[in-house]
């Protein structure tokens, strides 16, 4: 990967954000709503990408972090009657604490064992949600009531169920996380993460504490995923165990692989692509997952590093 000037990289990312902003005024209602959801889930994918793409740690349990944010924020509103900002902070806090604990335990393993351990922990979280059904709503989940999803600033209030407000809130969150991700991967810390991915032993020999760096990456990754979960609960009003199931551990992996692992914009592209393929094909056949599977195989064959990963490899070496 050749080095890009910071201005070029930031210009590209700001351009994407500007495009998403403009799209808010151009898209038909349905795609406007869908894109808001995609941006929130792209944040989930970006969190996953932080660990998988840049550190090379393949987790099969990231749904637990999304779930921590989802339930942390949702339950704070439903059971404790907290305001939206406090509930959002609660979701982030839950994700940060959970990722610290999981990181301390799971990082004792590597490779396949890391995958299995993260998957098992995610199952524990999923089953705990089912077990404590009296508070969590179990497999049916719970609705975050519409009147509570309001952001109040003094005398003014923003209704998060309003499509425009929701889109802008999702865009704001997406933009913030995108720029943070870009800053992190371009920072000295980001270089260390890539060094760990490429050769952990050599990084250790250079004097870096790889465990601490990896732990920090798990916490950053888990907290970003929890941010997405918290936003999902507050913006879309539903908290349910299916979002903590194994399916939602696999999905961010697919989104990142599609868009391009270790590319900052890949998670958005992958999520967008997958959503639209499902949305369009499900209108024609109930075997749409077969079409998704074929699309994935074709992408792996012709874009083995994902869409943006391949673009970077072949044409735009400076892509971050």
């Amino acid at each position: 990967m050749s080095e890009a000037s910071p201005a070029k990289a930031y210009a590209l990312h700001l351009g994407v954000i500007a495009l998403l902003f403009v799209l808010s005024f151009l898209l038909p209602d349905y795609y406007h709503g869908l894109l808001a959801r995609i941006m929130v889930l792209a944040v989930f994918a970006m969190g996953y990408n932080m660990l998988f793409g840049y550190v090379g740690l393949l987790s099969l349990g990231h749904a637990m972090f999304f779930g921590a944010g989802l339930y942390g924020a949702g339950l704070a509103v439903i059971q404790l009657g907290w305001s939206v900002p406090a509930a959002f902070a609660a979701g982030l806090g839950c994700g940060a604490v959970l990722s610290l604990i999981i990181g301390l335990l799971a990082l004792r393993t590597t490779g396949v064992a890391f995958m299995i351990v993260t998957m098992m922990f995610a199952q524990v979280v999923y089953l705990a949600i089912l077990y404590f059904a009296a508070w969590t709503g179990g497999d049916q989940g719970m609705v975050v009531p519409q009147p509570t999803r309001v952001l109040t600033f003094g005398a003014t209030s923003l209704d998060l169920t309003n499509p425009t407000v929701r889109y802008m809130a999702a865009l704001g969150l997406f933009s913030l996380v995108l720029l943070i991700t870009l800053a992190v991967v371009r920072s000295r810390y980001g270089r260390v993460l890539v060094a760990i991915r490429e050769n952990e032993e050599r990084t250790k020999m250079l004097g870096y504490d790889t465990f601490s760096n990896k732990l920090a990456a798990v916490i950053v990754s888990g907290t970003i995923c929890a941010t997405s979960g918290a936003a999902y609960a507050l913006l879309f009003g539903y908290v349910g165990s299916s979002f903590a199931s194994v399916q939602y551990s696999i999905l961010p992996l697919l989104w990142v692989l599609l868009g391009g692992a270790a590319t900052t914009l890949g998670p958005l592209l992958g999520t967008l692509f997958m959503y639209y393929v499902i949305d369009v094909t499900s209108g024609y056949t109930s075997a749409y997952l077969l079409i998704v599977g074929v699309a994935l195989i074709l992408l792996v064959l012709f874009f083995p590093k994902g869409i943006l990963g391949t673009v970077r490899q072949r044409w735009l070496g400076w892509l971050p």
Binding site: P28, L130, D139, Q140, M142, Y238, G240, S242, D279, S282
Partner: protein, 434 residues
């Protein structure tokens, strides 16, 4: 009369080529204007669009397929009889994958892309609960056929209705008098350790207690379990009735292992047919169920005393006397639940006609008209039986069937009364703003 000085004085008009072209352009413009001609047509003859949120894939696929068949039959009958308010009805189907996240997206798609008049047909509770916020935000009337207690709990919103099928709380409550009087007073419950099971766990004990019977043990089985023998020693020996509501593919193993555990000397068995919807009651391993009893919303097998309305409904949907698809005896229907689609669509028709519904701008009127409904008489529109409707909790109440497995068929041995399933309202949707 001619107005020589006014607009209609054509004698002074000279038609130039430019004027003619302008006139033609204006006429053509009006003809293709999106809001003019089509709008006036929409008010009169454009079809009413119903968005059907179907479980075509995922865990609910077997139900989804039969819900679609029943819906198609009902729409055909409604259209043949002149439609709703003189307009034909068109159904647009979207698959929600039996997933609450996708369910919410599908409701959004119906509201903003297909621009349907209502959304209808969802069964699985988690999909209903996941989709309800989207329906409420879009102010989209959302008629579910789920049997969950979530609508009646008043935890959803004013746009969600369940007028075509009773909810599980009411069903359980209706079963208690018969169980206590006919099966036994000491009941052990075996249920899956998730929400469907919890409804039975929570609602049966008080209902039985009111009838002088009691639940003496509750055995929750984790949803991941594939073998059940180790749980059976927990069944107290004094148990007179085992009340079981296991669902999913594991039910065959459950019944087989229960049979091996008890042999021929077993307590009475009572279950909910949900366990065996779309499953042939004569499947290998289910022999142990012979002589046991099941709740059925609507009977799977044709009964000697079926009403003409019930017979006509079965013929329209295309199920034979054994509750399987006509021409394919292995394609067993979800008869106990799918009638809810048929009946819900007729409730929608009645509410739209009462509201003088013309288009999406009348959705609030439709909500109020639905809330104003009180009773549905048994007949071609409601072949399962008579119902009452509580507009405050958006839930209907009706009769239930208790059927005995006899000679490889389910024979209805008791029908409950509507009153047995009534309970105190837990809230009031009508106090919410539209």
């Amino acid at each position: 009369m001619t107005d020589k000085n006014g607009f209609f004085d054509l004698s002074k008009t000279t038609l130039t080529r430019r004027t003619a072209l302008k006139g033609l352009a204006a006429g053509a413009g009006l003809a293709v204007a999106p809001g003019f001609v089509r709008y006036s047509q929409a008010q009169s003859s454009a079809p009413i669009k119903i968005g059907f949120q179907s479980h075509r894939t995922g865990i609910g696929a077997a139900y989804g397929r039969w819900y679609e068949k029943t819906t198609a039959a009902a729409i055909k009958a409604i259209n043949a009889a002149g439609g709703i308010n003189g307009r034909q009805v068109e159904v647009i189907i979207e698959d929600d994958g039996t997933d609450p996240g996708r369910g919410a997206e599908v409701v959004g798609k119906f509201a903003t892309q297909h621009k349907t008049d209502i959304v209808f047909g969802t069964l699985f509770s988690h999909v209903v609960i996941g989709s309800a916020p989207a329906a409420g935000e879009a102010k989209m009337p959302y008629f579910v056929v789920s049997e969950g207690h979530h609508v009646a709990s008043t935890k959803l919103n004013r746009y969600v209705f369940q007028p075509g099928i009773t909810d599980v709380k009411s069903q359980i409550q209706s079963m208690a008098p018969w169980i206590a009087a006919n099966a036994g007073k000491k009941v052990t419950q075996i249920f899956p350790d998730f929400a469907f099971g919890y409804d039975h766990r929570d609602y049966l004990p008080p209902a039985l207690k009111a009838q002088g019977a009691e639940v003496i043990a509750q055995i929750a089985i984790p949803p991941t379990e594939s073998s059940f023998t180790k749980y059976f020693p927990q069944i107290p020996p004094e148990t007179e009735v085992i009340y079981h509501v296991m669902v999913g593919p594991a039910v065959l193993t459950f019944v087989k292992e229960l049979g091996e555990f008890y042999g021929s000397n077993r307590p009475q068995l009572f279950g909910f047919i949900d366990s065996l919807e779309a499953v042939d009651i004569n499947s290998p391993g289910l022999e142990f169920l012979d002589g046991s009893h099941f709740w059925e919303g609507s009977p799977r097998y044709a009964q000697p005393d079926d009403t003409e309305a019930q017979k006509a409904y079965r013929a329209s949907v295309g199920i034979d006397d054994n509750g399987a698809a006509v021409g394919d005896p292995k394609d067993v229907s979800t008869a106990a639940h799918m009638f809810g689609c048929w009946e819900t669509l007729y409730v929608v028709k009645k509410a739209m006609e009462d509201a003088g519904y013309k288009g999406p701008e009348d959705r609030a009127k439709l909500v109020e008209a639905t809330e104003a409904l009180k009773e549905f008489a048994e007949g071609p529109e409601h072949p399962q039986g008579p119902k009452t409707f509580n507009g405050k909790i958006h839930q209907c109440f009706g009769i239930q069937n208790i059927s005995k497995v006899e000679g490889g068929k389910l024979k209805v041995v008791h029908k409950t009364k509507i009153e047995e399933g009534l309970y105190e309202a837990e809230g009031d949707y009508t106090t919410q703003a539209l």
